[in-house]
Assembly symmetry: C2
Amino acid sequence: MRIEVICTGDEVLTGKIVNTNFSYITQKLEDVGLSVRWETTVGDDREDLLLAFRLAGERADAVIVNGGLGPTVDDLSQEIAAKAAGVELVLSEEWLSKMQEYFARRSRVMPPNNTKQAMLPAGAEVLDNPIGTACGFAVDIGKARFFFTPGVPRELRRMLEEQIIPRLLKKSGMQAAIFLKRFHSYGIGESHADALLAGVAELVPDGTVKLGFRAHYPQLETKLTVRGRDMDDVRRKLAPVEQEVRKRLGNFILAEDDHTLEGVVLEALKSISATLTVVEMFTSGQIAARSAHLPGAERVFRRGIVARDLGEACGAVGIDPGSFPEGVTRETAEAVARAARRYTGSTHALAVLIEIDEGADRLEFGGTICIAIATAENVVSRRSRVVGGHDWVRLGATEMGLDCLRRYLKGLPVHERIDFEKIEDPVTRDR
Amino acid sequence: MRIEVICTGDEVLTGKIVNTNFSYITQKLEDVGLSVRWETTVGDDREDLLLAFRLAGERADAVIVNGGLGPTVDDLSQEIAAKAAGVELVLSEEWLSKMQEYFARRSRVMPPNNTKQAMLPAGAEVLDNPIGTACGFAVDIGKARFFFTPGVPRELRRMLEEQIIPRLLKKSGMQAAIFLKRFHSYGIGESHADALLAGVAELVPDGTVKLGFRAHYPQLETKLTVRGRDMDDVRRKLAPVEQEVRKRLGNFILAEDDHTLEGVVLEALKSISATLTVVEMFTSGQIAARSAHLPGAERVFRRGIVARDLGEACGAVGIDPGSFPEGVTRETAEAVARAARRYTGSTHALAVLIEIDEGADRLEFGGTICIAIATAENVVSRRSRVVGGHDWVRLGATEMGLDCLRRYLKGLPVHERIDFEKIEDPVTRDR
């Protein structure tokens, strides 16, 4: 089945907004085993819209159109859809009363120009939008079934998932039950993960399990798409594969599905009624900014300290910087973490100290990262060297700091070699 | 002149990466007074690429193609360009020797498969890529001039600005000198700014000055595009308009052109050899994360403190939280800022205290923000109420904190009403 997407609107065409709706649509379809073959973006222009609809209607079996369903004069999707389908626009009494209810529930009177949103091509099938006034609809143009969706991202998302994907799956004759399992990892590059997971999808021989990746440094997302007769069938197929993925990626999996690294760390701390202090240098507040605002963090996150200078970091936790003539080392990080915990009275402290290279930002620019975690019982630490420019080092150190804390809280080894670090000569490493 | 863009590659078509190259291209063209009329995205597929090239070649005068110039088998742009143009692929000795030099300068031997990157359609014009091995080129297909560009963003950017835009301007017959002047502001919404600036572009009556906006909350970018015979002509036209924009937007302009709010604040502190301490609550490190990592910040940024709890924030700067039974008020913020300065020995201290609403995140979710700045000489403060959900409040407070500091350092009033705050009743406001 050939699927195309048409994105409409001057804001997207002129680059005032980045077209994240398209990447959302196409990814969501990939996740259920469907593929977009062609995408077209046109502005709020009658002639171009008509041409885009006609061309897609000649080529495709299904077309998703995004945007142009609003109440203003530059919203043209219904009008041009009717023209391309060769039918009239007619008032949908069904949608009009839905809109009136929508406004009534919010104690507002519906402005007259909203009526335009209930004008649909004759014979169109309504696609419900439970959270907005833009009416989704489906209509045939050429040889394709066209699905019209709103430009507001949350309305699009809901309509795509609840209304359109089930229709596309039915049309494609694909099995109805589909499930996407996701694993988030840190420390393994995409090609390395691909090699580690060779053959896992083939544990289910009928080809209904598909393995995929999405890299967004520093994290990697590993995706398993599973198709089956029903959810029981899907679960039965998924079980051995997901178990194998967990085994092979092991300690590197930091969270699954909708969970995040910072969320997992926070949950682990909460579950033991722990409190946390974080000391940062070149990550300059990014570790705190990732975690301290989350719901529930107000009871866990005790204090964050940012200092660009080791002396200042020591001063902030009440120790003498003169005791560390060697600068940023594992021992220094351990002493800072220990002192931070004592100083603020938290149960846990994380210190992420970084000595960055001298000079201007460049691809070879690097930093030496020393991370320590202290509790009343013990202190653990690791050292790493990362290169790749200012932002790369900073992002990498933020992730590594949080991931070390996750590993510690889960009883895993804090130091495990990752793909993004540079191997140092033994003399330097042992410093 | 009708311009189209064709984006190629499975990674973009499947949504593995968001298509920021397109928004970059189209915005850059808008900035020089050109417009993209139509955009097409296709995968690494011979049939679809050929069709996309042919269709665009029938409709457009100029087409920019992005991606597919790499050395691997799925990079098909040159091959399909030659086919669509009806010519052979020939080896460009010019580009081959450039690539060999490129590798030699990096002390590496050119891998044989890179030779493919020097195969161009016969008669193609080379578009230089000084920072990569992908060779840009221009060739006629149908009635359009096609410009082929690399997918690597920094290579695309350089080629677009240095090679393609001058050619497009020449082809369009537009005046050669073009300049984009940008103002960044915080606190004024787009429609408000539009009203404030009514008529400024008309100060130059020949229509060669164009006013535009780009909103990215919390900041607004105001853009003036000026066309002229030469740069002297452009400067002469721009002078009265930019002066008027500065006058009308006044204190709300936080930076111009490539400068940023955090950069301006850092420069102002540096110029008086000042040092800074920042105390944050719900912004949870975002103010530090915006500023403390910048080059030069290591001498200015003394210490950042994050605490979700007012008591903890007070404790971190050595004052007794029991003195503030009213919680987060202007007076509390002033006391915390004063204490932070004394405690860390910095010349300046910024305290951004926030009391957030109870309950789950929602659109009406808000926060009361109290900001204070202390020096040895004095202390200033402001209070504000912002609603719009968790992230909105956090982003707004981060910006407001940095902007108050900018205003203070520039001798401007720290408290000026902004469009994004909710007016409170006088009793609450005076608390």
